[in-house]
């Protein structure tokens, strides 16, 4: 049976892993390559590395980080943050990533989704959507959550799929870093609207939150960062909890 995936996310800035609350107050959490290997051996089904600074000067550092991280990692590895062109994506793939995640650039140049999918395959293209609730709707934001796009999240996810995205990485900005649980309503709305897998993100604080987003949110995968770095819960504990809740996960791992 196809299992629900647990994805460990590393937010990196200038070659170090950091984690903030609602995109602010960054704390240092270690070396990306070391953390990726540690998460993988303790049971993470995938690793995502997000370059949260993505400034021009730090691009070289990022590629080096990707290379170092990929070297001893034998589970799927995604890199996102600041990818604007086919050339940017190529450089990331050449450094050892299996998938790239597009966010701002997918909104400003939606053709890029298709261009990358055509060259590297749809399975290699994740479209990341940062969603915020306003009234009874979900709106997509870009630039680290600072800029509204005017796009409805569900409509944008459907368009991304049509343009060739292989997966949707859906982050609830309202829940990100709060540890109050994933936004199941948001996740369900998107998961039911598209045929491609949806990765839920933002708000993980306990094992029960993961069970909820798989059951109620119909997520195909769930992503979390700080819960793993600071040892709030071990991956094997998390997976044992999910198994006892009759959710199928890769086990043993």
């Amino acid at each position: 049976m196809l299992t629900k995936r647990i994805i460990a996310c590393l937010d990196v800035d200038g070659g170090r892993v950091v984690k903030g609350i609602r995109f602010l107050n960054l704390r240092d959490a270690g070396d990306p390559a070391e953390l990726a290997t540690a998460h993988s051996s303790s049971g993470a089904d995938e690793i995502v590395l997000l370059d949260i600074s993505a400034t021009h000067e730090k691009r070289a550092t990022l590629l080096d980080t990707v290379r170092r991280t990929a070297r001893e990692l034998f589970v799927p590895f995604t890199v996102g943050g600041g990818i604007r062109t086919l050339e940017d994506a190529s450089a990331i793939f050449d450094s050892g990533a299996d998938k790239i995640s597009l966010n701002s650039a997918a909104i400003s140049t939606p053709e890029l989704i298709g261009e990358i999918a055509q060259r590297f395959g749809s399975q290699a293209v994740i479209v990341a959507i940062d969603a915020k609730r306003t009234d009874d709707k979900f709106h997509a934001f870009v630039h680290g959550g600072r800029k509204p796009t005017g796009k409805d999240v569900v409509e944008w996810a459907k368009e991304a799929e049509k343009r060739g995205a292989g997966e949707i990485l859906l982050t609830s900005m309202d829940r990100d870093g709060t540890g109050k649980g994933f936004d199941c309503e948001l996740t369900k709305a998107v998961s039911e609207a598209v045929r491609i897998p949806v990765i839920a993100s933002g708000g993980a604080g306990s094992a029960q939150h993961f069970a909820e987003v798989f059951d109620e949110g119909h997520a195909d995968a769930a992503l979390a960062a700080s819960i793993f770095h600071f040892g709030l819960s071990s991956l094997s504990e998390l997976k044992q909890h999910l198994r006892s809740a009759a959710i199928s996960v890769r086990w043993p791992c």
Partner: protein, 198 residues
């Protein structure tokens, strides 16, 4: 004498190479038919679209692979590389596979999400597989694909997702895997070790 990892202009060959390096297998990424002809073993990786395999025809790599296979050289097709081993795929009508076994790759039914992405289980068929030595039924491996091989006589492991399909095929010196051993953790590395030590 080495393992040739065939580069036909698509896919992430670096991760296959990295996995080979990790298990201390001597391998080289190549698009030269001569290098392929002299290789001790051949790996054809592949992600992306079936139509990309048509470049194997133009470059002379198809002939090099066919001849090596006839001489008994072990061949491993991964993902699209495995799909290429049969006649054709619904993904690219008119593009010819190697036709080692009759059959056509098909889409997943509309009842399940596609692509099939993630960790799923191998169900081993009875009989001994050299490629799956020390790998047990129920092991999890990482898949990412939109098309799949039907069940064949040469299927040695099946997978279930919107119906059953071939996860591993094997006959004599011919091996194919639909999943990505280079991305399937310790189980995947064991499979590559098995192939390299044939």
């Amino acid at each position: 004498m080495t393992i040739a990892i065939i580069d036909y202009g698509v896919g992430n060959l670096a991760s296959v190479k990295k996995a080979m390096d990790h298990i201390d297998a001597d391998s080289t990424i190549t698009s030269d038919p001569k290098v392929v002809s002299h290789a001790e073993k051949i790996v054809l990786p592949g992600v992306g679209h079936f139509s990309a395999t048509s470049s194997l025809d133009r470059s002379g790599l198809r002939d090099a692979v066919s001849e090596s296979i006839k001489r008994g050289v072990p061949f491993l097709g991964i993902c699209v590389g495995m799909q290429w081993m049969i006649d054709s795929s619904q993904e690219a009508s008119g593009v010819r596979g190697l036709g080692l076994w009759p059959g056509e790759c098909e889409r997943f039914p509309a009842s399940v999400k596609s692509p099939h992405v993630g960790w799923n289980q191998l169900e081993l068929r009875n009989g001994s597989s050299r490629l799956l030595r020390e790998i047990s039924s129920g092991s999890f491996v990482y898949f990412t694909h939109s098309f799949r091989l039907p069940l064949l006589k040469t299927t040695v492991a099946e997978c279930e997702y919107g119906g059953r399909f071939s996860a591993v095929v094997e006959q004599d010196n011919l091996f194919g895997v639909q999943f990505h051993p280079e991305k399937s953790g310790p189980i995947g590395l064991q499979l590559l070790r098995n192939f390299c030590s044939l």
